[in-house]
Amino acid sequence: MNVSIDGSILSVIQDHARTTYPEECCGALIGVADAGRHRVLDAIALENEAPTGREHAFVISAQQSLACSRLAAKLGLDVVGFYHSHPDHSPVPSQRDRELGWPSYCFVITGIDRDGVAATRAWQLHNDGSHFTELSLDIVPDAP
């Protein structure tokens, strides 16, 4: 299982994490999912609607999720996953990520520190919700 993503889209995600630091950023990943392979073709930055504690929590509301679903359908694509950041923490799913995530989507997490140094990894929640499996994150070089 893997996630492929253009370098320019990954840069947008990491820049979003820098912009919202020390709070978490979040967004949706639009693309194609097929037999465990996720091809991300766009990243949609969303508002973190966690009412409090956005340094360590994020919420993507039903209305934002609906808008992303409609946008993806209009493009003939799917919402294949979501991204968020972990300010001052590693890009490894938290207990809260496990409790509140949906299986089958890819979850792209960016760890970001105060110097703006980012590390991004991709994960998928097991069908029974018990644990995440890391996905290979394949970065597609941008066309010259």
Binding site: V59, L66, A73, R96, D97, W102, P103, S104
Partner: protein
């Protein structure tokens, strides 16, 4: 009635990747029950053990959240689209 149901990628069957299907149903609950019979993955994703929608599952009829209507008893017509989307959260 034959409303459309838009199915998010995680709930599609591996051998039936249709994004939108038509089901025969009078209410949202009937439509989702029909979907669950056709796609075994759907039931555990959408419903808890008491048969209620899970907290992070949202069902819209067109642009209206069914929790603001009559829930699973919300009636549907041929022109309606039922859309299932998650609330995603974490930390």
């Amino acid at each position: 009635m034959s409303p459309l149901v838009s199915i998010p990628a995680p709930l599609r069957a591996d051998d039936d990747p249709a994004r939108v299907v038509t089901v025969s149903a009078e209410t949202v609950g009937e439509a989702l029950a029909t979907l669950a019979r056709q796609r075994p993955r759907v039931e555990s994703y959408l419903f808890d053990r008491e048969g209620n929608l899970r907290a992070f599952v949202n069902v819209f009829v067109n642009s209206d959240d069914v929790r603001a209507l009559d829930g699973l008893a919300t009636r549907v017509s041929d022109r309606d689209e039922i859309v299932i989307v998650p609330t995603i959260a974490g930390g």
